[in-house]
Every structure is written in C-alpha cells, then in structure tokens.
C-alpha cells in the first residue's frame, strides 16, 4: 500500500467509521467529529508523504485492474485545497452543527465527499472519473438539504439534485460516445485517438455536463440556492472545492481531447467572459450575504476559466499555473468568506434558534461586537475583489500576465475586461465591508450572541493563509507550478 493509494482510500474507509463513531454512543455525536478530524490528520500525513514522493519521482501511478489512479500536479493541488478546507470546516462545525439532527451523518458525508474529490482528481480513467464525480454528488445531496425540516433547504436540495443529475447524465453520454468510438477509457490513450466528429460532440457534452457542476452560465441556477441554504461549512466546501472539482474533471477530459479540436480554448474563454460579467451583475443588488458570495463564485469561476482558456487557446504555461493558483486562492478566500459569514449568522441568528437569512443590513456595526469575524470577512471579500496584497490579487495577476504574454489582441482585451470586472465587483464588496464598521449597530447585532472560540480559531487560520499567500505568492508555487505543467503536458504543449 503506497502512501498515494492510502491517501485516496483512507477517507472512503474512514467515512463509515466516522458515522459509527457518532452512532455508537447516541449522546455523544461529537465523537464523529473527533473521528473525522483524526482521519483528516492521517490524510495530511499521507499527503505530505505523497507530495515528497511526487517531488522526487514525478507522477505516482497505482493501477487496480484496468483503472489507474495517478497522483500528479493537478491532483496534489486539489487534494491540498480539499484537505485544508475539510479540516477547517470540521474544526469550525463544532458548535455550528452541535445539537443538529444527524450530526454524525454530516461528518461522515463531509469525509466521503472529500474522499470523492481526492479520487476524482486522481482518476486517469474516463468512466472512473464519472464514478468519483457521482460519489461526490451523491454525498453532497444531504449536506445541501441538511436542514431538511426547512422548506427553503428542501427547495434548494430538489433543484440541486435534479440539475446535478441532468449534468451527470450528459457526462455519461459523452463517456459512452468516447467508449464507442475509441474503444478505450484511459485518458492518456484517448489523447492519441485520431480526429473524429463524434469526439468533438462528446467534448461538448462534457462541457455542459460538468458545466452544470462548475456553474457555467446558463447552467448555474442551482448554485445560489444551494450555497445559501446549506450549512455554512457546506457552502464553504461547495464553493471552495466542489465546483472546482467539476472544473478539474472537465480539464482532465477536454485536456485529453485537446488535440482533436481547437475550439476548447474558445469555449472556455467565452464562458469565462459570460461568467465574470453575469456573476458580478447578479451580485450587485443582492441583499443576502450568502447569496451574494454565491454569485461572486460565478465570476471567480470565470477568472479560472480565463486562465485555463489562455492555456488551451494560446498554450501559455502561466495561464494554466495562474488558473490553478486562482483555484487555490479562491478556495481559501471564499472558504474564509463563507465561514466568517457563517460565524456571523451563528452569532446573529442561529444562536437564537432562528433560521433567518443573513442580510447585508444585519451586518451593520458588526465590526465592534465581532471584530474578528468582521475583519475576516473584510479580508476575504477584499481579497476576492482583487485588492493587493491579498491572495486574490496575486492569482489574478498571474492570469493577467499570461493573457498579455500571448500578445494576442483578443486575449488582451479579455484581460482588460476581467480587470474591469474586478472593479465592478468592488461595487458590492466595498459596501459590505463598510456596513460592518458602522457606528450604529443593527438590532440583530445588538442582540447577537458571542461566537464560539472554535469558529474564531478557524477564521484566524484561514485569514492568515490568505494574507500570507498575498504577501508571499511563491509560498504555494510548489503546488501551482506542477499543476500547471501537468495540464500543459496533457495539452501536448
């Protein structure tokens, strides 16, 4: 059992254990949280071992039957983000989920979902990729509709389930098509397949099928609902890694098809432009904090797509590395934003046993009573808005340099468009920050309950990461550069 294989298998094995740990003693469902933390800790150890092995000897293959699981740059990057966010969310959920019905299911499914994402990042077999993808989706259904006694959560759950399932069927059709035409399911063999119209069609099906999960406009409609209704820890995972996992699945597949058609880059760039503008405009007049953050995820997916699109279209390595860098920083920043918003939601509403949405107006004056949560949310949204020296700026910078390195007029115009979109996004991030530092607190803040220590600690941890990466972007280049070169390798450039 190599560490890499153990890393992939561990969460899957431990997920039932986490469940039974919480089930064994019914009064202490918190045991499941400790079990979850333990398995994440072991996963971290295995991750470090795999990363060292990778840095010494390159991609690590483990073959089971005809299915290969490969730990390469891309899977290491996604695994790092998944483990980071899962650890923070598990730590954070201590008080947030305490006393909720089915706490042990929550932790078990979080672990299962994280495991599915790690597996997805490693899958080198087309159908196996779909199975991991589906496992991730099935594990997330309950998590999205976790407050299943509440109508809004149910509504979000139904929409999420139906739309995910449609996307997943389209992916399957693409798989069947590729299987029929080439007779192979291995992604690396697929890259050698000759040109064929059917393969292009299959690629289109993948773009849409995975696109539902990635929340490409106009397939995005489930996202704001699911993100706003899920528990905040789950919103963090959904926005920070689940949609990105879909993006990585898409990159893997159309990366293998890159030699067959030139249009992928154009498609990615087109979706990038639409997503950026649409997400920002939808967020502009949004009054609910979590919905606002959800719509901003749309625009950030746009930035990642811009980076990847540049890599596909012009073959610029910085585009791929920048896209992955933004994936990482967006995971951290959006995670921080959702967790901070969740902490405020907890203090203002949940601690009163209320399930009201957290509105922008509720935040007025939060800075005085909840200095840490307000500061974290400010750092997160300003980072998302691309203000230096926070992490979000650095990753956008790398994407933008890639655009200009191509010397291609259209790409340069797209970069300018993206930069203007960042300015537009400040028009809704800045008032949010402003409100929190008002002098006169809102009634919700006045009656607010204190935020527990466990939440505060996670906020500090993530905020420090966001600032540190902003000041020292090279801190994570050991993750982003190999990921970028792995993608470039897959593209054959």
């Amino acid at each position: 059992m190599t560490p890499s294989l153990a890393l992939i298998g561990l969460p899957l094995v431990s997920s039932p254990l986490v469940y039974f740990a919480g089930r064994a003693d019914r009064r202490h469902a918190a045991w499941s949280r400790i079990a979850a933390l333990l398995s994440l800790l072991i996963a971290w150890v295995l991750f470090v071992q795999s990363a060292t092995q990778f840095s010494m000897s390159g991609a690590l293959d483990s073959t089971i039957g005809m299915i290969t699981l490969r730990i390469d740059g891309i899977s290491l990057l996604l695994t790092a983000v998944v483990l980071t966010l899962a650890t923070f969310v598990t730590l954070y959920s201590d008080r947030y989920m305490m006393g909720e019905m089915g706490e042990e299911k929550y932790y078990a499914l979080v672990i299962a979902m994280s495991g599915a994402m790690i597996g997805l990042a490693c899958a080198a077999d087309l159908f196996n990729l779909w199975v991991w993808f589906e496992l991730m989706t099935v594990s997330s259904f309950l998590l999205v509709a976790f407050y299943c006694q509440r109508r809004l959560a149910l509504e979000a759950g139904v929409k999420y389930l139906v739309q995910s399932a449609v996307g997943s069927v389209l992916v399957l059709l693409g798989v069947a098509l590729i299987f029929a035409v080439t007779g192979t399911l291995r992604l690396d063999e697929l890259a050698l397949a000759g040109e064929s119209l059917a393969l292009i069609g299959a690629g289109g099906l993948f773009v849409i099928g995975f696109g539902v999960k990635i929340a490409l406009v106009p397939m995005h409609t489930w996202l704001p609902d699911a993100h706003s209704q899920a528990p905040s820890g789950i919103s963090t995972l959904l926005s920070g890694v689940v949609i990105e996992a879909g993006l990585i699945a898409l990159l893997r597949v159309i990366g293998a098809l890159a030699g067959i058609a030139e249009s992928w880059g154009v498609l990615l760039l087109a979706f990038a432009a639409i997503n950026m503008l649409f997400g920002n405009l939808m967020a502009l007049r949004q009054k609910q904090v979590k919905r606002l953050l959800a719509f901003s995820s749309l625009s950030h997916i746009g930035y990642m797509l811009l980076g990847f699109g540049i890599a596909f279209y012009a073959g610029t390595p910085d585009g791929a590395a920048g896209g992955f860098f933004h994936l990482l920083t967006h995971g951290l920043m959006k995670g921080l934003a959702f967790l901070a918003a969740g902490a405020l939601l907890y203090g203002l509403h949940l601690a009163h046993e209320r399930h009201d949405p957290l509105t922008v107006n509720d935040l007025a004056g939060a800075g005085k009573r909840y200095p840490l949560a307000a500061l974290s949310l400010s750092i997160a949204v300003l980072g998302l808005g691309g203000l230096p020296p926070l992490a979000g700026f650095m990753s956008k910078w790398q994407i933008f340099t890639a655009g200009f390195e191509t010397q291609d007029l259209v790409l340069m115009l797209l970069v300018i468009f993206a930069a203007l979109n960042s300015v537009l996004s400040l028009a809704y991030y800045a008032p949010l920050v402003n409100r929190m530092y008002r002098d006169h607190p809102s009634s919700a803040v006045q009656q607010g309950k204190p935020i527990p220590l466990s939440m505060q600690l996670t906020l500090i941890g993530l905020a420090v990461l966001v600032v540190a990466i902003g000041v020292l972007p090279s801190l994570v280049s050991w993750l982003t550069e190999p990921a970028g070169s792995t993608l470039m390798l897959a593209l054959g450039r």
Binding site: V138, L142, R151, G157, V158, L172, G183
Partner: protein, 100 residues
C-alpha cells in the same frame, strides 16, 4: 445498422427525458424523467460496448451506472417525501421562493 438504430433509440429516449424535465412540475415525475435519462445512458454504454467488441466492459460500466442512478433516484424520492410533508404539495411551482 444495429449501431445506428441503437444511437437513434438512445437519442430519442434522451429527448423524451429532457422534454419531460423541462415541462413537468411534479417532483416525483421529475424523478421519473430522470430515470428515463439514466436508462438511456445505461443503454448507451451497453451499446457502445457492443459496437466496439467490449460488451463485457460495457456491461460492467452499465452496472455501476444503474447502481449510482438508483441511489440518486432514492434520494430524490426521499426529498419528494419531505417536500410533500413540508410544502403540502409536490408541485415545483411552489418551490420557487429562492430567486433573484
């Protein structure tokens, strides 16, 4: 020839399923439409295996698909039960509070 007919069949089923998903507004019937789609997908995998001479492989893929999509359907049914319980109806038009 067989291949062509199979492809037409899969496409027709997909069309019917998608059409249903677009016009039906009963949660349970949406799950029915979803099942039509997944059955088409399973058939597509078997057909693909048949066409390229790897029928057994196609079968094992289809098995996984059937299991996975049955789980989706089951969760969908459980959601439908809860929807009925809390909304008093299965009509998705009632499930439209979350917008904008």
């Amino acid at each position: 020839m067989t291949g062509t007919i199979l492809v037409i069949g899969v496409l027709a089923l997909i069309g019917v399923g998608l059409y249903g998903m677009m016009i039906l507004h009963n949660v349970l019937k949406l799950v029915v439409a979803l099942q039509i789609l997944t059955k088409a997908a399973a058939l597509a995998l078997v057909a693909a295996g048949y066409m390229n001479g790897q029928l057994q492989l196609g079968q094992s893929l289809a098995l996984t698909v059937i299991v996975a999509d049955t789980m989706v359907a089951v969760v969908g049914l459980a959601l439908a039960v809860q929807v009925r319980r809390h909304f008093g109806t299965l009509d998705t038009r009632a499930l439209s509070t979350l917008k904008r």
